[in-house]
């Protein structure tokens, strides 16, 4: 079969369908992953003793477990105790937990980097503790956490491929199916790889634009470039 016919008429249409699923996985996971990360970081840093311990343990457990094993537990393990997810939902839940735990570490680092005086000043202006965290500390901390968070977002793009191991036919899965059917492993996975590289490269560019957009004039620190 002609190479270009194969790539443009068979491979790319299949991969585009897979890409849509990959983007759905990311779109469903990223916002909740960020929210979970913020909640866990704030809980660990400003929560009571029990909350703080729970948040710390959550991060410890998730970071210590391979994501693929976490996905297996969610998809194959939980039905044994009566909780059944579809493969897509199990993947999204796994990505949210994993992304949230790693995000929490970056956000916590950023929270620590905001000087204590900020909290003292906010409290002395009559803000409650919660108001101070929400309106004074977090807006600064989240900006500082952007490089780390964008790293995690890029990891999320790449690790979304593991959903295929739970039978979700996303980008890698679509590539695998075409590769197996037409016996074109190198070509198929090379094109899949190129699509991931494009996604990652676009994200890297978008992050540096975002970082400039949300920068508060006069508060800029030495720029830390977002890395892969």
């Amino acid at each position: 079969m002609d190479q270009s016919v194969f790539i443009f008429d068979i491979l790319l249409p299949a991969l585009m369908q897979g890409l849509v699923v990959t983007l759905q996985l990311i779109a469903c996971s990223a916002p909740f992953g960020l929210a979970l990360g913020i909640a866990v970081a704030v809980g660990r840093q400003y929560g009571g003793r029990v909350t703080s311990w729970l948040c710390k343990t959550f991060v410890f457990l998730i970071k210590g477990t391979p994501l693929l094993l976490l996905l297996f537990i969610l998809y194959f393990g939980l039905p044994a105790i009566g909780i059944t997810f579809s493969a897509f939902v199990a993947s999204v839940v796994g990505f949210i937990l994993c992304n949230g735990a790693y995000n929490a570490e970056y956000i916590r680092g950023a929270l620590i980097s905001i000087k204590d005086g900020q909290m003292v000043a906010a409290r002395s202006l009559g803000m409650t503790r919660w108001q101070a965290i929400k309106n004074v500390i977090l807006p600064q901390a989240l900006r500082r956490a952007i490089p780390g968070l964008s790293n995690e977002f890029i990891y999320l793009i790449k690790y979304s491929s593991l959903a295929y191991m739970l039978t979700v036919i996303e980008l890698s899965g679509a590539g695998k199916l075409v590769a197996t059917k037409y016996f074109t492993y190198t070509e198929s996975f090379a094109v899949v790889g190129v699509i991931y590289l494009v996604l990652v490269t676009i994200t890297t560019a978008a992050v540096s634009i975002l970082e400039r957009r949300v920068a508060v004039p006069g508060t800029a620190r030495a720029a830390t470039a977002a890395q892969l």
């Binding site: 970071k63 210590g64 391979p66 297996f72 537990i73 190198t186 991931y196």
Partner: protein
Amino acid sequence: MDVLSILIDWLPYLLSGVASTLGLVLAALTLGLLLGLPMALGQVYGSRPVRWVVGVYVWFFRGLPILVLLFLFWFGIFPGLGLGDLSAFVVGAVVLGLRGAAYQSQIFRGAIQSVGEGQMIAARSLGMSRVTAIRSVILPQAMRIALPGWSNEYPNILTDSAVCYAIGVVELLTITARMVTQTHITMPIYLATAGIFIILNYGGLKALHRLEKRIAIPGFGTGAM
């Protein structure tokens, strides 16, 4: 009690998975070190084409998911090169190592660049050749600076080694999946494996941190890293 006795019966099998996983991780870390360090030197001291080649290599291996890399090499590239006989274990270790090299090279590059440039000038003015200066002056400092960052490669590779399940490497996760299929006990086995991964993860990190303290030079602190 029943579950526990089955788990104990299967324990040797599970432990063979631990050995296999650790073998993967050690092989990958070693390969990553052997390739990553020359790549870092090439990126800092090399000519323009060398820097370009290393840059493209790093961009490629850091931009692709580990699952896609494993599929690409296992089904495509290695058989295409006539290396179809390689075992899944070898391919898994090599792919993890090649990718680790991309990450490690950036850790070493940062460390080499953080050693002041005056060190090289001073070494050269004492009559050392460039190679001697790199080997005897720059690297002993850079490697110590790199160690905390390098330590984080261990948990990364450990958790990614589980993805080698996808190409049929008989490692801890594969063995876990087989145990689940054969015993129909799901959660206890999954949780036991998760526990083993967590122990390997933090145990290894602890050992690496001990190494950091061991080889630290008094007075040559890099601050809390």
